[in-house]
């Protein structure tokens, strides 16, 4: 049980709740914020309760994030972030997906990286994935995805 993590997370939620409450009670016209005000009050009360519990060291639901898990997920989350927030629009959905899929597959595949056969397998799986996505979205559903530098 990581109490510090609980304190930080509940503190962030509490800060969001205070901000929501502040906006709801200060923005005009008041009629448009009538329902958000009710929600904001309950949001703030529950967030304060959770924060108080965390500060007193009595948050026992949820185990937080271990250092090992954080190290494992860090590269995957970084690739995902680059893929969604930059590459998809800049390179084009399909090109970005090829890179992201192949990199994630290589990062989390337990097979040894020294064998050529394994790299070929990863490449074939990536090609199959992209072919299915293209057939599904471009051909069947006719979704026009951002092209960027490539497709």
């Amino acid at each position: 049980m990581n109490y510090l993590q609980h304190r930080i997370s509940s503190g962030i939620i509490c800060a969001v709740a205070i901000w929501v409450c502040w906006i709801s009670f200060t923005q005009k016209p008041a009629e448009a914020f009538l329902f958000p005000r009710i929600i904001a009050v309950f949001f703030l009360l529950l967030a304060l309760w959770t924060f108080a519990k965390a500060m007193l060291g009595r948050s026992k639901v949820g185990n937080g994030l271990s250092m090992a898990a954080a190290k494992n997920l860090a590269p995957g989350v970084a690739i995902t972030g680059i893929y969604i927030f930059w590459a998809a629009k800049t390179l084009g959905f399909y090109t970005a997906s090829i890179f992201a899929f192949f990199i994630l597959l290589s990062l989390y595949d337990p097979s040894p990286n020294t064998e050529f056969r394994i790299w070929m397998k990863r490449g074939l799986i990536t090609a199959a994935f992209i072919a299915i996505m293209y057939a599904l979205f471009a051909v069947v559903l006719k979704v026009y995805t951002p092209r960027g530098m490539f497709i």
């Binding site: 309950f42 309760w49 898990a69 998809a88």
Partner: protein, 496 residues
């Protein structure tokens, strides 16, 4: 018996194709560890845009039914429940597989799912119109309280901490207020251009259910791979049917318990399977055999988790209160097709609702047939490496959320909500109440605003919202559900 008139729509070529595709796809997705029925249905919603509402719902209904049943494949062969609903199936199912009875266990699970599922859908057919007629008495204040009830029930029952469950519901309801106010057109909480149109339900659903699963797979690291596959030896299907009929008690207990639990909003199939397993064990003369690979354990658990599917849609279709997280996602699917469940659903959209319900009946039969014959193939799918699974789900989430409105803003919303949900889950929050808050928030707000206007012209909001038998009954249920969950938590020495 109105439903009989609408059976024709289910047997059209396109409906049958979708039903078969949804069933096979659902079985495969269900057999894949890490892909819950809720997530599978959420990922499928973008594909229904190109379809008519009835066809879209047939696809989602087939996927819902078969993912729950398909989860038994990995539960039995890999001891990894494909869905939370299949936890009880692992207890005896995997023990049977270890004894070389994997095929028999799979057949028993699909056959008992068939009986449980058909009973559950029949309950849906006969109970829903009765409840819908009763629901005609509901006005704006009652609908407001119903929406609040939906959030509080799931918030308090689906979460390990009542306060965190309710807080999740509040966050969801706040997210629902982002965008332009319907009445005055005022911007609310729009702190980024992506939020100009509000938080679209579908990208939010995909993000909240799929992205945390992807990050969880990342967090397990490169070398955390699952167990080896057990060989599935052939077993005659006729013998499996005979075995199910021989174990009528377990089948009956599973079916009845699953149906009752399905009717209670917020109580999922996971509980149905475990309660049915426990009761089947209590009433069995062969108690000692449970846990060692006893067929009654598999039959009771699987009959229960599929019997729960139909009744879980009764409160959804009549009162807009989803009976399970997957039903909450289905509610999103209904709303995006412009169908608002509730009091007049069966009067306004009989041509959509009845074929949808009827298709679930046919879907149960298809699920059993395909389930038995593709079980060994599905077992191979269940072994798809986590790396492939994570990358595939991520790709589907990106394309699926973009396809909704062809907007990058939706993709960003999906990613941010997904990342946020992963971290919230680590601290005891759950996605189901948040999603429900997001879906029911606009229903609560519109009825609150409408009710307030009527109240101001009459006796004032206090009397309008807090008096009358129905209002008081609904408020009492809200208080009772929260109070009961808090009391259970305190008595089980959990921290609120």
């Amino acid at each position: 018996m109105e439903f009989i008139y609408y059976f024709g729509e289910v047997f059209t070529p396109i409906s049958m194709l979708l039903l078969i595709g949804g069933t096979i796809g659902g079985l495969i997705l269900g057999a894949t560890p890490g892909l819950s029925p809720t997530m599978a249905v959420a990922l499928l919603i973008p594909f229904t845009f190109q379809l008519t509402p009835v066809h879209g719902l047939i696809l989602l209904g087939a996927a819902y039914t078969s993912t729950v049943a398909g989860g038994a494949v990995s539960a039995i062969l890999l001891k990894i429940p494909g869905a939370p609903a299949n936890i009880a199936t692992t207890l005896d199912g995997h023990a049977m597989a270890l004894k070389g009875e994997g095929a028999k266990a799979l057949q028993l699970s699909f056959i008992s799912s068939l009986f449980g599922g058909i009973f559950g859908v029949l309950l849906l057919i006969f109970l829903t119109p009765v409840l819908a007629e009763w629901a005609l008495a509901f006005g704006p204040p009652h609908l407001f309280w119903l929406a609040i009830l939906g959030v509080t029930v799931i918030g308090s029952l689906e979460s390990n901490s009542v306060v965190k469950g309710l807080l999740s519901g509040c966050i969801g309801m706040w997210l629902a207020t982002i965008g332009f106010d319907d009445m005055l057109g005022v911007k609310r909480f729009v702190f980024h251009s992506s939020l100009g149109g509000g938080v679209n339900i579908i990208p939010a659903l995909i993000g909240l259910f799929a992205i945390p699963q992807v990050i969880t797979m990342f967090a397990k690291g490169r070398f955390d791979q699952d167990t080896s596959r057990i060989e599935v030896k052939k077993h005659p299907v006729g013998a499996a049917f005979k075995e199910v009929f021989k174990r009528k008690r377990a089948l009956g207990i599973g079916t009845i318990i699953g149906s009752i639990i399905g009717l209670i909003p917020g109580v999922g199939g996971q509980i149905a399977g475990l309660v049915a397993y426990d009761q089947a064990k209590k009433f069995s003369p062969e108690k000692a055999k449970f846990g060692t690979g006893h067929s009654e354990g598999v039959i009771a658990a699987e009959a229960a988790n599929n019997a729960m599917v139909g009744p879980s849609l009764v409160p959804l279709l009549t009162l807009s209160i989803p009976g399970s997280p997957t039903a909450a996602v289905l509610l999103g699917g209904l709303l995006i097709h412009g169908i608002f469940p509730g009091v007049d659903l069966f009067q306004n959209y009989p041509e959509v609702v009845w074929p949808f319900i009827n298709s679930m009946l046919i879907g149960q039969v298809l699920m059993c047939i395909f389930g038995i014959y593709i079980a060994s193939f599905a077992a191979r799918v269940a072994q798809v490496p986590k790396s492939v699974m994570a990358a595939t789900v991520l790709g589907l989430a990106l394309f699926g959320s973009y396809a909704v409105q062809q907007s990058m803003g939706d993709v960003y919303v999906m990613a941010v909500l997904g990342g946020m949900m992963y971290f919230l889950e680590r601290f005891g929050f759950s996605a189901a109440p948040l999603v429900l808050g997001l879906i029911l928030g606009p229903i609560a707000e519109s009825n609150f605003v409408q009710g307030s206007m009527i109240a101001n012209a009459q006796d004032g909001p206090m009397i309008y919202f807090f008096s009358g038998t129905l209002n008081i009954a609904l408020i009492a249920v809200v208080v009772l559900s929260v109070g009961y969950s808090a009391w259970s938590e305190i008595t089980s020495r959990k921290v609120v």
